[in-house]
Symmetry: D2
Subunit: 139 residues, 4 copies
């Protein structure tokens, strides 16, 4: 795996550009050579089930896509288009902030695979998954 | 495939209960025995790339999960928990409203598969995918 | 979707080149502009469960990968490398020959998506899934 | 994660019952509380491309499904039906024996997720993926 091409401050700033990332409140809280961590403050609009307060699976899917993408971005110097992604839901996500970890799993000249895990504040694994990203050099 | 267990009005109302669905502006616009159609008005917070105005892949993933879930809900009488989901991105989603089609692909006593497609207003396929849902009878 | 670039006879012959395809006994039985059909004679080595005679899920996964690949091959003139694939298992595959249908879902200059369904002899859907293939022009 | 419910010898023996596993030559070479290792001797029928000798992606997909299943079997005391599986192909698998690692990622009362990686003899990662398995107690 090559070394990161962006500093943590650069990646953090890049992450906040997208309007949907802003709405989600995404904050890069760590970047190492092994991966990244993103924190997500809970908001009421995340909820799918009003009685129990579960966070919507689409929010978790989004976090996995974004985090895996930015784990690759750290290595390549830019976020990349998603080709496809898959999410496994492990536990209901109760009301509360979320912590997402992500790693570049395999970098390639045409496409790359990243992986991410979403945890609750207590460190329980809520969802995890992978994305495949288009990483051919820009023309 | 069994007959629908909800009327179109019931499914439409059920779809609007979730706060995240409200934020997304989801509207059920058709329900037949073969599947459902959901319309989604574009909003600025959907955007991932401010220069070009692309809609975020996480929004498309959410729509596929929700629509496949509700295509199964029409058959079972209730929305169901997602076990896992997968999304293929076919084209960049430019600024504009979205139309989602979804079908129950296989219903089972323990788990079921649904499928969905996201189109732009011109009818171009932007993304498609599948979810597997937990459909054991509630205790 | 562009027109097929191979004749049915060419595709049938190409399919039989791979030693694993020969072992599986794959036979192209139809090719139209909309997709292909492959027939697979049952063999005892396919079995995972000796009591009941189920065919192994890995055989069904292989058939989905191969068929989706060759549905794209019909359009492009050559089989293509798989980037990733996903399989949903719908029913246990009892002893008996298999019929696989496959379609190119979206062709792209860098990667393409194909889809396939595996049926038993009675026409029951046993498994279905998708693959994403690397379709950049060969250098 | 609960403790293993089978001994390594029991799991090794169980793995060899299925005719397709026998044909593949699967051999359990390690079982710990963290996962399992399976070795697969190369055979000529694995090949997809006769010029280069690549192993067929369907073989790799099969290995991921089987290994993730048996990593869960170690924990539950029995192999379990696959609900769905997904494979990422990272590198062409050249002629040679294969080593598969697998781990139970999340065990649940109704369904569970397992993960597996296929390596070549030099330890290069060729493919990896996940399966979701039906783990409700047998009636």
């Amino acid at each position: 795996m090559p070394e990161n091409k962006m500093t943590e401050a650069e990646l953090a700033e890049r992450l906040r550009v997208a309007p949907f990332h802003k709405w989600l409140g995404l904050e890069l809280t760590e970047m190492t050579e092994d991966g990244i961590e993103i924190r997500v403050p809970w908001r009421e609009e995340f909820v799918v089930n009003v009685d129990v307060g579960y966070t919507h699976g689409g929010i978790l899917a989004t976090l996995i896509d974004v985090a895996a993408d930015y784990a690759i971005a750290a290595k390549l110097g830019r976020p990349v288009p998603t080709i496809d992604m898959r999410v496994d839901y492990h536990r209901a996500a109760m009301k509360g902030d979320l912590v997402v970890h992500a790693q570049a799993l395999k970098l390639g000249g045409s496409f790359s695979t990243g992986e991410a895990q979403v945890y609750d504040e207590a460190g329980k694994l809520l969802a995890s998954g992978r994305g495949v990203y288009f990483t051919a050099p820009p023309k």
